[in-house]
C-alpha cells in the first residue's frame, strides 16, 4: 500500500510538468497582448515595448519558462500584470470559496443520489425506479444557468426572497455565508446528483447479479447486509470514479455558477485573467487547478486500493 501511494505520487510529477509547459505555450500562442490591454490602443510603441520588457516577455521562451518555474517551485507564483498583487494568496483565498461551494454541493449530491440510486436498483423497473431515472436524467441534462435562473425567479416571485448580494467569508459571518452559498450549491449539487444516481443504480444492479451475492444470500444474510455491506462496497469503485471526476472538476472553479451568483471563486479569477491576457495569473491558476485535480484523483486512487484488496497488487 505504501509503495503504491509513493508510486502514484511520483506519477504526478510528469503530469504537472506537462500541464505547466502546455499552459505556458498556449498563453504565448493565443492572440492578444497584455501590454496593449493595459496601456490602451493609443499607447506609443516605445511604451508598449518598455512594458513588455518589464514583464520579461522579450526574453527567450525557455528563459521565461525557467524563471516562472523556479518561482513556482519556491511557492512564488509572481505578481499579477494588471494589479501587481501577489498571485498565490489571491488563488488561495478564491480557492476557499470554490472549496466550500464544492463541499456543500457534493454533500447535497451524495445525500440525494446514493440512497436514491440504491433504492432504484433494489426496485428495478418499479415506478420508483422510473422516477429516479427521470430525475437523474433531468439532473444530468438540465443546464445549470437555467436551473439557477428558475430557482432565483421562483424565490423572488413566490417567496419574495432574494439571496444576499456580495460575498461574505464563512469565518466573518457563517450564517450569512451559508445563506449565500446554499442556492449555488443546490444548483451544482443537482447536476452532480444526476450522474452519481445513474452510476449508483447501474453498478449496484450489476453487483446484485454477481454469483457472490447469491452465496451471501444462501448463507442466510438479511437483505440489509446484502445491499449495504456487500453490494454497495463493490459498487463503490465506479461511483468513486464519477465522484472523483466531479469533485476534481468543480474544485477548478464553476465559472457559470460563480458568475451568476457573483461568487469570487477560482473560475472567475481565471476567466478575468484570460480576458485581460494576464499571463502570470492564468498560468499560475491553471497550474494550481491541475494540481488540485490530480490530487483529488490521487485520493480516489488511494480509496480504491483501500476498498479493493486486489488493486495494490496489480
Amino acid at each position: 500500500m505504501f509503495t503504491y501511494v509513493i508510486r502514484r505520487i511520483l506519477m504526478l510529477v510528469p503530469v504537472l510538468f506537462g500541464v505547466s509547459v502546455l499552459i505556458f505555450l498556449v498563453m504565448r500562442i493565443i492572440p492578444g497582448d497584455v501590454a496593449q490591454t493595459i496601456l490602451g490602443t493609443d499607447a506609443t510603441p516605445e511604451a508598449l515595448q518598455q512594458l513588455r520588457e518589464d514583464f520579461g516577455l522579450n526574453l527567450p521562451l525557455h528563459i521565461q519558462y525557467f524563471n516562472w518555474m523556479s518561482g513556482v517551485l519556491t511557492l512564488d507564483f509572481g505578481e499579477s500584470m494588471r494589479t501587481g498583487k501577489e498571485i498565490l494568496p489571491d488563488i488561495l483565498s478564491r480557492f476557499t470559496v470554490t472549496f466550500e461551494l464544492t463541499l456543500i454541493s457534493a454533500l447535497i449530491a451524495w445525500i440525494i443520489a446514493i440512497p436514491m440510486g440504491i433504492i432504484a436498483a433494489m426496485k428495478r423497473n418499479s415506478n420508483t425506479d422510473f422516477g429516479v431515472r427521470i430525475v437523474s436524467l433531468l439532473g444530468v441534462s438540465f443546464p445549470n444557468f437555467a436551473l439557477a435562473t428558475i430557482i432565483i425567479l421562483v424565490l423572488a416571485l413566490v417567496f419574495s426572497y432574494s439571496p444576499p448580494v456580495g460575498y461574505v467569508g464563512f469565518f466573518e459571518d457563517p450564517f450569512k455565508n451559508l445563506e449565500i452559498m446554499i442556492i449555488p450549491a443546490i444548483v451544482m449539487g443537482t447536476s452532480m446528483a444526476g450522474a452519481v444516481m445513474r452510476m449508483t443504480r447501474s453498478s449496484v444492479l450489476e453487483i446484485l447479479m454477481q454469483d457472490f451475492i447469491r452465496t451471501i444470500r444462501a448463507k442466510g444474510a438479511k437483505e440489509r447486509v446484502v445491499i449495504f455491506q456487500h453490494a454497495l462496497k463493490n459498487a463503490m469503485i465506479p461511483i468513486l470514479t464519477i465522484i472523483g471526476l466531479q469533485v476534481g472538476t468543480l474544485l477548478g472553479g464553476a465559472v457559470i455558477v460563480e458568475q451568476i451568483f457573483s461568487l469570487p471563486g477560482l473560475g472567475q479569477l481565471v476567466l478575468t485573467a484570460i480576458n485581460q491576457r494576464d499571463f502570470m495569473v492564468v498560468q499560475g491558476s491553471v497550474l494550481f487547478i491541475a494540481f488540485i485535480f490530480v490530487l483529488v484523483n490521487l485520493l480516489i486512487d488511494i480509496l480504491y486500493a483501500y476498498i479493493d484488496p486486489r488493486i495494490s497488487y496489480k
Binding site: A218, K219, G220, A221, H230, R310
Partner: protein, 339 residues
C-alpha cells in the same frame, strides 16, 4: 430412515409476457437422512433451477408455480416467511456453487465471509467463531488455516476456494448440503480430492448431500441414489447400482451408452442425437424426450407418461413400461425383469 427433503410435483415457471412456461415440471424426489443423492442430466435440463428453488434463490422472473418442498417432513419451503427462510439458509440447508472463482466476495477476507454464516445464525462470541473456523479449516485440509483466514479470495486457487466454500457450508452442521456442479470448474486432479472431502465431511456431520452434476462418473463415485433429469423433469430414479446395471428409461440408456468407461470424466453426455429442448420449445402434453427418442410411439406425443415402478424403488417415466403400450420393449441389460 427419515426424510430430510421431499420435493413433490414441483414446477418452476419462467414468466414471460404474463405467460408461464414450465421450465421444470412434475418433479418428484425424496432425500433421506445421511443420504447422498445425485441429480444428473445434460446442461439445460433444469438441475440448477431445481436446486435454487429449494432455498428460494431463483433468479428474477422465475418462480415456483406448483408443488411443495418439505424440509424434515414439516416445513414447506415454498411458502415459508422470509425470516424463516433466512434461518434455514446456511444453517439447515447450505449450498456450494459451480464457480469457486466468483462465489466469494472479492473485497472481504475469508475470515469475514466464513464468520458471517455463524453471525447470521446467532453466534456472537468471537472466540467461539474462531475456534469453529479453525476446526473446519483443518478438516478441509488447510495446512495453515490461520493464513487462509486472513487472505482474500484472489489470493487462493480454485480448489482452495472450493474448500473454503465447503467449510462455510458445513460450519453450522446443516441437515442438507446442496452442491451444484461443485467440481466442474476445477482441474481434473483436484476434482477427486474435493469430492472425497465432501463425502468424508458430510458423513462426519451427518449431513445429506444433494449433488448436481452432468457427469455420470461423479454420480458413480459419490452417490447412493440418483435422479436422471431431462428437460425439466425426472425421467428415472433409482439406486445408483440399479441405474447403472439396469437402466430403464431410453434417455438413461442413451446416456450410459455414451459413457464408455465410467471413470472417464472427459466424456460428456452429448452422444444422444439432438439437444435438450429449450423452455420455449417445450409442450405441456406428451413425453419431453419424444423428439429424440428412438422408441417413440403415438401415445408419447399426446400424453405425459406416468412414473412407472419398474423394480423395487426404481422408477421410470416412460410409456414403454405400460404393459399395453410397450409390450415389445426390451430392457436390454436386465436379467430380472419385473412384470
Amino acid at each position: 430412515m427419515t426424510n430430510v427433503l421431499e420435493i413433490k410435483d414441483l414446477s418452476i415457471d419462467l414468466i414471460k409476457n404474463k405467460e408461464r412456461l414450465h421450465i421444470v415440471n412434475n418433479l418428484n424426489l425424496t432425500i433421506m437422512k445421511k443420504q447422498k443423492y445425485g441429480i444428473v442430466g445434460e446442461s439445460g435440463s433444469g438441475k440448477s433451477l431445481t436446486s435454487l428453488s429449494i432455498l428460494n434463490l431463483l433468479p428474477e422472473g422465475i418462480e415456483v408455480g406448483n408443488g411443495h418442498i418439505l424440509l424434515n417432513n414439516d416445513t414447506n419451503l415454498v411458502n415459508v416467511s422470509k425470516k424463516d427462510m433466512r434461518h434455514i439458509r446456511g444453517n439447515e440447508i447450505s449450498m456450494i456453487f459451480q464457480e469457486p472463482m466468483t462465489a466469494l466476495d472479492p473485497l472481504f477476507t475469508i475470515e469475514h465471509q466464513v464468520s458471517e454464516v455463524l453471525k447470521f445464525h446467532g453466534e456472537t462470541s468471537k472466540k467461539e467463531m474462531h475456534n469453529k473456523m479453525m476446526t473446519l479449516f483443518e478438516q478441509v485440509g488447510f495446512a495453515r488455516p490461520k493464513q487462509i483466514l486472513k487472505s482474500y479470495p484472489h489470493q487462493l486457487s480454485g480448489g482452495m476456494r472450493q474448500r473454503v466454500m465447503i467449510a462455510m457450508a458445513l460450519i453450522c452442521k446443516p441437515k442438507l448440503l446442496i452442491a451444484d456442479e461443485p467440481t466442474t470448474a476445477l482441474d481434473v486432479t483436484i476434482q477427486a480430492q474435493i469430492l472425497d472431502l465432501m463425502n468424508e465431511l458430510t458423513e462426519y456431520y451427518d449431513t445429506s448431500i444433494l449433488l448436481i452434476t452432468h457427469d455420470l462418473g461423479v454420480i458413480a463415485e459419490t452417490c447412493e441414489r440418483v435422479a436422471v433429469m431431462y428437460a425439466g423433469t425426472v425421467v428415472e430414479e433409482a439406486s445408483v447400482k440399479d441405474l447403472f446395471d439396469h437402466p430403464a428409461h431410453p434417455y438413461t440408456k442413451g446416456l450410459l451408452s455414451s459413457v464408455k468407461s465410467l471413470g472417464d470424466r472427459t466424456k460428456k453426455l452429448y452422444a444422444i442425437p439432438g439437444n435438450v429442448p429449450s423452455p420455449v420449445e417445450l409442450k405441456d402434453a406428451g413425453c419431453r424426450f419424444a423428439s429424440r427418442c428412438p422408441f417413440v410411439m403415438d401415445i408419447c406425443r399426446e400424453k405425459e407418461p406416468e412414473l412407472f415402478s419398474v423394480q423395487d424403488r426404481h422408477y421410470s417415466k416412460c410409456w414403454l413400461h405400460d404393459m399395453e403400450e410397450g409390450s415389445t420393449y426390451e430392457y436390454a441389460t436386465t436379467d430380472s425383469e419385473s412384470s
